[in-house]
């Protein structure tokens, strides 16, 4: 998949996010949209996963530590062929495999049930540690929110990952600078994020534009070369990216669009799609 195809896929993932959240009348579009390129790069380029064999012991693993942004994960899984796009409309409905936060027991392809912030990275650390014990070469990826890293457990996990030299672990921080109650600085600033991870023994890669596939490609390639320590890729992103009225608006952290807003959002994404 070339960069142009990745861009088109990310735009389709954004449409999938809006569709899922609109039909659910609930969900978290803002942080899903900000991670659309990250999800797309991971599932279309970076990770060794097979929708036909989602439980393969040698597959790469992905743990969505910021579980509430699963509309983005479901959005890319549909594009990767784990299930049909149509199923996105069942998101958050009774009986759906697409739970409000990911459930590994309900949806094949989900490597860990998450939703409670701070726990996913620890689970990813456990999965990475298991690879070391069993001598397996799979890599483990985990995506965190920048607000999520206010949870102390994230730093417990980071301390362990570097102490045990888990170079098969790649954490990604979606740094869209907004959380429910406002900007990170307004709530309880975790900055400087890079210096903190560096102090915890991580190889740190700053990505100036987390929506740029060339920058993402370079970052993930660099992460693979790191030995003896875990890597974190900190991506500057825009919350709500791609939907005009959601961009940089904390109000769209966890709210669904109404019918009129849905139409505007889809038209925005349609226009972006035509330009690609």
């Amino acid at each position: 998949m070339n960069v142009q195809e990745l861009k088109r896929t990310a735009n389709q993932v954004r449409k999938n996010i809006i569709t899922a959240v609109y039909y659910a009348k609930a969900g978290h579009p803002g942080g899903s949209l900000s991670s659309a390129e990250i999800y797309t790069y991971l599932y279309m380029k970076e990770m060794n996963v097979d929708p036909a064999d989602p439980g393969s012991p040698d597959r790469d693993r992905f743990v969505l530590s910021k579980g509430h942004t699963c509309p983005g994960l479901y959005g890319v899984m549909a594009e990767r062929g784990f299930f049909d796009r149509e199923e996105l409309k069942t998101f958050r409905h009774v009986g759906s495999r697409l739970q409000g936060h990911p459930s590994m027991r309900m949806l094949p392809g989900i490597d860990m049930s998450t939703g409670s912030l701070g726990q996913g990275i620890s689970c990813a650390v456990g999965i990475a540690a298991a690879a070391k014990v069993k001598g397996k070469s799979y890599r483990t990826y985990t995506l965190l929110g920048d607000g999520e890293i206010e949870e102390g457990q994230v730093w417990e996990a980071a301390m362990f990952a570097s102490a045990k030299k888990l170079d098969n672990l790649c954490a990604i921080v979606d740094n869209n600078n907004l959380q429910i109650d406002g900007t990170l600085e307004e709530v309880n600033s975790p900055y400087p994020i890079d210096k903190k991870f560096e102090a915890f023994g991580f190889h740190v890669i700053n990505v100036a534009d987390g929506h740029d596939f060339d920058q993402l490609a370079a970052a993930f390639a660099e992460a693979r070369t790191v030995k003896g320590q875990p890597t974190v890729i900190i991506c500057k992103t825009t919350k709500g990216k791609g939907v005009s009225f959601m961009e940089n608006n904390a109000g769209w952290h966890g709210k669904a669009p109404n019918e009129e807003e849905y139409k505007i959002a889809m038209a925005d994404l349609e226009r972006i799609g035509e330009s690609l």
């Binding site: 459930s103 939703g115 689970c123 014990v133 362990f160």
Partner: protein, 313 residues
């Protein structure tokens, strides 16, 4: 009285874990800087490459254990009950319980028999917390032999398990060839006047109490309910029908533990007069284990007095 062999249940945990480690390469152990005390250190010594010391970070340890299980390992995670279950409750609930992962939470230093460390370290609510998590098996072994059997059964069981171990040496009540099964209680003493349902170190106290009651003409049936969940409801109802009076005895709060489990079962299936012996909604305190068990009436004499009063009343 002849000298009874005494050994702590946590020692049973350590030795069983070492045995299992030799049999199954997927077994790994985690601790939070208490490996010497919980006895997971015995596993660490035997299999250093399969042991993870997480440092003083219990919540992180539980989620890491979940990740290890998701990748096909069988993790045994240990700390003191207060921190394993109290500190890390939400990690156990969401990272282990909700995805029904194959993690064995093996907590030592439960109950007031922790002794001198006092109330901050005497977890009396662990059974209550673990029992509420769907799919969690909850066990409280009575002695070294049963502790080893529980650990072996936990390794064979597919799903999350909580096992509660104690710090203090307790009498060995089971024979070497004891056959243990998850979810099955066992009658240790037949009786017709009152049923004493118990587990953990209170099994020894209850057996002692039953002998004292016998001298007063009260014929007590003593039943070991090591598995609090799933509860052996058939046996609980059977003994309730037989004696018509049920007492539970546990080194745990009377709220939420074995007493509650039995009360829930009987109130639905066979309403029966009941009394719950345990720690009566208070925190513990510092002191030697034996003196505390006496003060909180969980030794043989304390159980005897309370059961006798209940039977007479």
């Amino acid at each position: 009285m002849s000298e009874v062999k005494k050994i702590a249940t946590r020692d049973g945990y350590g030795s069983a874990l070492v045995e299992l480690g030799a049999e199954n390469p997927n077994i790994v152990a985690l601790d939070a800087d208490l490996a010497g005390s919980t006895k997971s250190g015995m596993f660490k010594k035997a299999y250093p490459d399969r042991f993870f010391n997480c440092g003083i970070a219990e919540g992180n340890m539980m989620s890491i254990a979940a990740g290890l299980a998701a990748a096909g390992m069988i993790p045994f995670a240990s700390s003191f009950a207060m921190f394993a279950v109290g500190r890390a409750y939400e990690q156990i609930r969401n990272s282990i319980g909700y995805p029904h992962l194959n993690v064995k939470i093996c907590a030592s230093h439960a109950g007031i028999s922790v002794g001198e460390d006092g109330a901050s370290h005497q977890c009396l609510e662990d059974i209550e917390l673990m029992r509420g998590i769907p799919g969690m098996v909850v066990m409280c072994p009575a002695d070294y032999i049963e502790a080893k059997a529980c650990v072996r059964a936990a390794a064979e069981h597919d799903g999350p398990v909580y096992i509660r171990f104690g710090r203090s040496p307790v009498p060995v009540v089971f024979p070497e060839d004891y056959k243990f099964e998850i979810g099955k209680g066992n009658v240790l003493r037949e009786g017709k006047d009152v049923s004493i349902l118990t587990n953990g170190l209170c099994v020894a106290s209850s057996l002692e109490a039953a002998e004292m009651l016998a001298k007063d003409g009260i014929d007590a049936e003593v039943i070991n309910i090591c598995t609090v969940k799933p509860l052996d409801e058939e046996l609980v109802v059977k003994t309730a029908v037989k004696t018509g009076k049920v007492v539970t005895v546990e080194e745990h709060s009377i709220i939420g533990g074995l007493g509650s489990a039995v009360a829930e079962c009987l109130s639905e299936k066979r309403p029966t007069r009941m009394y719950r012996i345990g720690v009566r909604d208070v925190f513990g305190e510092s002191g030697p284990a034996g003196e505390l068990l006496h003060k909180y009436m969980l030794d043989g004499e304390g159980v005897y007095k309370q059961v006798k009063e209940f039977v007479k009343g």
